[in-house]
Symmetry: C2
Subunit: 225 residues, 2 copies
DNA sequence: ACCTAGAGTTTGAGTCGTCAAACTCATGCG
DNA sequence: CGCATGAGTTTGACGACTCAAACTCTAGGT
């Protein structure tokens, strides 16, 4: 409402960095990097957020959103993820491009349009990447899942979420048949090479680094072994 | 592409004012008024457009878009009108609110999303107000129509376009059953009062000022008299 | 021809978001 | 234990956009 587009971007970035960070605090440098901005710029913006009671921060420390700031961040995330869902489900765009598109659209969606969109999409709980869509009241239902990198050889699992939003990662996964909801099996693990070999159900075996695999979340399924 | 959101708004405003104006030139003051900005601000922005070869202008004269500027304005108008169509046809919003919503969304639509939207909507030629949607190549097919105010008593006509985008006008028309495509008949004209009485097919008689009626475009139909 | 009302322009200042570069703090290595 | 390193902060400047207010031009009426 009161927040400029820039402020919205800072709130979203802080929220996401905070989620990643161990201490629940977002280092200013990480926030700056996430936004493609210099550290100095981020520092002065954080001051502004603090003045608006959207964040807390002490000199040389990390940033932490207040309840008010968190609420605002969730609202933006809701817009972002509903837009992504719309772009994939209704317009048929590829999931590798929708993140960037949603990045621009999320700021132009009014509450009225948002609700109409939500209704049109059947009030979805997850976006095309498996990320939970915060509800209008701010509730977020994180799905239970583990990194694919923690599976053992022979394990079966269902892909439930992809954390990486980079286009090339998503194109690789789609091309490999690794989409949200797909079941797969770990064919082999080569720890020396840092690689695991995965077979999606009905697809051919693909190799991926355990680093990449750690950003793909799965739910194990007991299956034919 | 290169144009900021602000520049896009100026281009659109100049295009529309120019269309209205007799001389095919947009007075700076009208442009400023259309954008809710002071005349001084508009003047300096016009200079910028001229520098970018998007408009021509001489001191104390009117503004005129160059072919390049016109092309850009049509692109924005295309986005605006496709978004309006989407909001009404797909999301089911009322036509009295979509103008303002589209005003914000039009700047966030990439060519890719625009084309997907166009395809999803079946490549419509007109938006919910009957305004022509410029095609991707910049062609605009204006529909032939006359102001409803020029009809005579007893005349029948089909409503093809509503020029007024104000919410209250559009709510009045919708409530009266006067939507695009509806047929209607002029019951009476009272020139002294500046009022005409209209009966939409299957509706009850409503009065409206000839001023308001002049902003509603119709195509006469010969009908039972 | 003048002269004034209205339209348009200029000027000076302010806000927002940004950067580069100088500066400050906290830490852990040697 | 001191100090170099890297993270964070401050400062000064800038570009984009805006306003208010002073200024200038144009056109119409007498």
């Amino acid at each position: 409402m009161l927040a400029s587009e820039t402020v919205e971007n800072y709130l979203k970035a802080i929220y996401l960095v905070q989620r990643e960070a161990a201490a629940g605090e977002a280092p200013v440098g990480k926030v700056a990097a996430a936004l493609g901005v210099t550290a100095g710029t981020a520092t002065s913006m954080v001051k502004k957020l603090v003045a608006a009671k959207l964040a807390r921060h002490e000199r040389f420390g990390g940033v932490r959103l207040t309840p008010k700031g968190t609420r605002a961040a969730l609202d933006i995330l809701r817009r972002h993820r509903l837009v992504e869902t719309f772009l994939v489900d209704t317009l048929g765009l590829d999931w590798s491009v929708v993140h960037d598109e949603a990045e621009r659209l999320e700021h132009a969606i009014s509450p009225m349009v948002l609700d109409a969109l939500d209704r049109h999409l059947g009030r979805p709980a997850f976006d095309p990447h498996g990320d939970p869509i915060p509800r209008a009241d701010g509730a977020v239902q994180e799905s239970e899942a583990m990194p694919m990198s923690e599976l053992g050889a022979g394990d079966g699992a269902r892909l439930v979420r992809v954390l990486d939003q980079r286009g090339d990662s998503l194109r690789f996964l789609r091309a490999s048949g690794l989409k949200v909801g797909a079941t797969l099996r770990v064919v082999a693990i080569e720890p020396g090479a840092g690689v695991m070999r995965i077979r999606p159900d009905g697809g051919t075996v693909v190799s991926m680094s355990t680093t990449a695999a750690s950003r793909v979340l799965v739910r194990p399924v007991r299956g034919r072994d």
